[in-house]
Symmetry: C2
Subunit: 501 residues, 2 copies
């Protein structure tokens, strides 16, 4: 018989799955119960940190993200812990000075991180160089990333060229990141094959979302083309805007000459754990559908809900269709960036502005920076008129250098600023928390002593609240004043108005 | 470039999708709005009748199933209409006399049916011979079926042998029917390849459910192996215990050398239609998950919920685990039948009986018939002790002939019986309705003049009912008697008990 090739699996339940399915709201306390099984199931790595989890921890959960990381390190002693890192943006939304990048990577490694999946929204490899060098310096696994997208500027050759740039920077592996589930099976095969042909020794990881319904097939094709590791989420935390089910991925491979050697009993236990936890987050759950329209619109689901709430806030909820048609044009005018944090938000918000106020009448500061090169370089031509408008509006000149070359070292200043905040604990980790989210961190430092807040709710509790609210609206309950009743007082009937006691 | 091969698609939204996702409850009135788009989308066929829909129409919807068929014929003038037919069982749950089979096929064809997917739960091809001959005689498309299952008795060679039997009977095509989503990608490839190698000209259709999460990959592999047509459901009626999404299937093929030539604009309209209809059937919806445990337990989802309700009715809801462990043993003792209607119900119910009353202390009449051969032959050995028990309990002898050989022609008697029923309209169609469901049909004939009943409910209506029920339970509303209030009557406060007016 043919030999079998072992395929690694990265389990994303602890990070991207709940980020995608329930707005990153899952509390650490709802994850710890699954950690022993996750640690023993045989995953290549466990993605559990980074992305939006840092932000959500301090913004919604009053939870110290560094403490979360240390807890995972303790509870997953046999696992490679993996994080998603936005290159020079780290986990924030601007480019940081190189010294902050170095500090962040050192502290993440020190607190237990093993695998740093590092990406740049524009696939500008200059924006990940510093972070990757820092990861290598601390002896951890540096994973470079290709954000997959489709446009007239993108083809297999382009991605292979970007992959060679990452190899030359010194990455230990390369991830194909398909955040919008656009990677169809044949392209998955061709892309992974082309990378492997170019660099046979390079480990290739494939990360697909499930939104369009086709990407488990894409993972199959990627494996056939030579992919080494695939990302999946345990079935009870899978599908919709999330990921393909871990158990299905394993079963899919049976008899194919590839094998994902995971412990099925452990998987069943992990599944059960999250099946029990999930209903507590119903209020944050995205609706659960397959959306193939994304192939044409290029607009990932999270971006649509973002734009919808922006429109509604402006009383223009009826303009959604115009905005959806505007997004591809704005993306073209900005040189065909992939749409992923933060470029998805920047392009989406500008499209909303264009529809509400006239095309490019007002540029957001971020969109102006994007077209002026302050986020890095893109593959396509940027519309010259839009560049002129950005210059006129901001007084800034376009740049072609690495954006962070224009940012001085800033650690000392950030440390000094953080030190002035009530509740600051003196650690470098706290400086980094402040550096990442200067508006949110002060409030978090102040309330941190109150301890983590679990925003999940018992479904019965949610139901009771709904009933109370509905009863109030409908006037079926005693909360409304002056309901007319027939009342018996001392044996006599009266028609009376009733107020709650 | 390589040539592309065109792959047909059978859309199952109008039959198996709502049977699988919402207990077959969808009313015709909720389907008509999608028919124009379905008719023009480019499907190879439209499955819209048979299976459990006939039963559900008269049992729950007060809808004449023959009228439903005629309506589809009118609204889908350009489409091949397809039905699922249980061979000698027709759409009922027993074997019928050959003359009834003939009448049924003739009437179905006359009312508009084009493609008869004909299966037997045991894959005993003697049980489909008569129906297939009848389909050929009326000049319609006769599709033979292999019910896919796994057991020590089942391998590729066995299925190919059954396929050659079907070919020899004269089928126009062969369907691989994977009702429990057990068909993994490699087996899908090997099985379709083996059938195509044996009979290159035979059209092969593949029908997979999505329950285990792997079967879109299986469809990809089946296509690579030569499959001609695959079954899918429009995305808003897909996944869970249902089927893979039609749009995803089409997109999946892009660039592979295979193409499903469907009209994407029509698909988007069909999707929207059912996305709007679906919430009305929330009360009937199965919970929506991926279940890979089925690979080990062999127990499809619908069967589990059946057994659960049987156990609960006996106050033995805590015995579920024992029953789940008993099913594979009962299946083995009965010679490894596939588990599909009616064998799934027969095996499942016997497993429940075994757990509740001791193993084979009591056999159901149906299980006794199964092990005595009255449903046909199975591949494995039937446990001799169980056969003895069945003989003792029923006084019947085992048979090896085709079961229907023991059934006399019965049309005249059925027609006479039906004619005596109030509301019988004198048609052969009514005779067939009575023949299929002799207990339900009389009630249906009586209430038919009231017209079809749409059991879907506006979500707001469901919510209002829930609130009212919850308010009653919680005592927050005036429906509960003797709530204590502070009441002001004539300016004086009283503590009183209140009853609703």
């Amino acid at each position: 018989m043919e030999t079998t090739r072992s395929i690694g699996v990265t389990e994303v339940a602890l990070r991207d799955a709940h980020q995608s399915l329930m707005a990153t709201r899952m509390a650490l306390s709802d994850m710890v119960g699954a950690c022993a099984d996750i640690d023993q199931a045989g995953f290549w790595s466990v993605e559990c940190w980074g992305g939006a989890t840092f932000d959500a921890c301090i913004r919604f959960l009053n939870e110290d993200p560094w403490e979360r990381l240390r807890t995972f390190r303790t509870l997953l002693p046999n696992s490679r812990l993996q994080m998603l890192l936005r290159g020079q943006n780290l986990l924030g939304y601007r480019h940081y000075g190189d010294d902050v990048v170095d500090h962040f990577v050192e502290k993440a490694a020190e607190n237990g991180m093993d695998v740093f999946r590092t990406f740049d929204a524009l696939n500008d490899t200059r924006n990940v160089e510093r972070a990757i060098a820092a990861v290598k310096r601390v002896g951890k696994h540096a994973q470079g990333t290709l954000c997959y997208t489709t446009s007239p500027e993108h083809d297999i050759d382009v991605f292979v060229r970007q992959a060679t740039e990452l190899r030359d920077i010194g990455v230990d592996s390369i991830a194909v990141k398909d955040m919008a589930a656009l990677l169809k099976p044949q392209v998955a095969y061709d892309l992974v094959k082309a990378i492997k042909d170019e660099m046979p020794q390079m480990q290739v990881n494939v990360h697909c979302h499930a939104t369009t319904g086709v990407t488990l097939v894409s993972l199959m094709k990627a494996v056939e083309a030579g992919a080494d590791v695939c990302d999946t989420a345990i079935s009870s935390m899978s599908l919709g805007p999330g990921h393909n089910p871990t158990e299905s991925f394993q079963e899919m491979l049976e008899g194919t000459g590839y094998v994902a050697d995971l412990d099925k009993v452990r998987l069943a236990d992990i599944k059960r754990h999250f099946a029990e936890v999930k209903p507590r987050y119903q209020q944050f759950m995205s609706s659960y559908t397959v959306e193939t329209e994304i192939f044409d619109s290029q607009i990932p689901g999270g971006m649509i809900s973002n734009m919808e709430s922006q429109l509604k806030a402006q009383g223009a909820g009826d303009k959604m269709r115009e905005v959806l048609e505007e997004v591809p044009r704005v993306r073209k005018d900005a040189g065909y960036s992939p749409l992923v944090t933060p470029s998805s938000q920047i392009v989406g918000t500008q499209a909303v502005f264009n529809v509400l106020m006239g095309r490019y009448q007002i540029l957001t500061a971020e969109f102006a920076d994007l077209v002026l090169g302050y986020y890095g370089s893109v593959l396509g031509e940027i519309d010259p008129d839009v560049v002129e408008k950005a210059k006129a509006q901001t007084g800034k000149e376009p740049i072609t250098v690495r954006p962070a070359d224009l940012i001085d070292n800033e650690w000392d200043q950030l440390a000094a600023d953080a030190a002035a905040l009530p509740g600051f604990d003196g650690s470098d980790e706290d400086v980094l928390t402040y550096a990442m989210f200067p508006k949110v961190a002060p409030g978090f430092f102040a309330t941190r002593p109150e301890g983590p807040k679990n925003v999940g709710k018992d479904p019965a509790e949610v139901e009771a609240e709904r009933v109370a609210a509905a009863a109030k609206d409908a006037g079926t309950g005693p909360v409304r004043t002056s309901i007319k009743y027939e009342v018996t007082v001392n044996g006599r009937k009266h028609s009376v108005a009733v107020d709650p006691a």
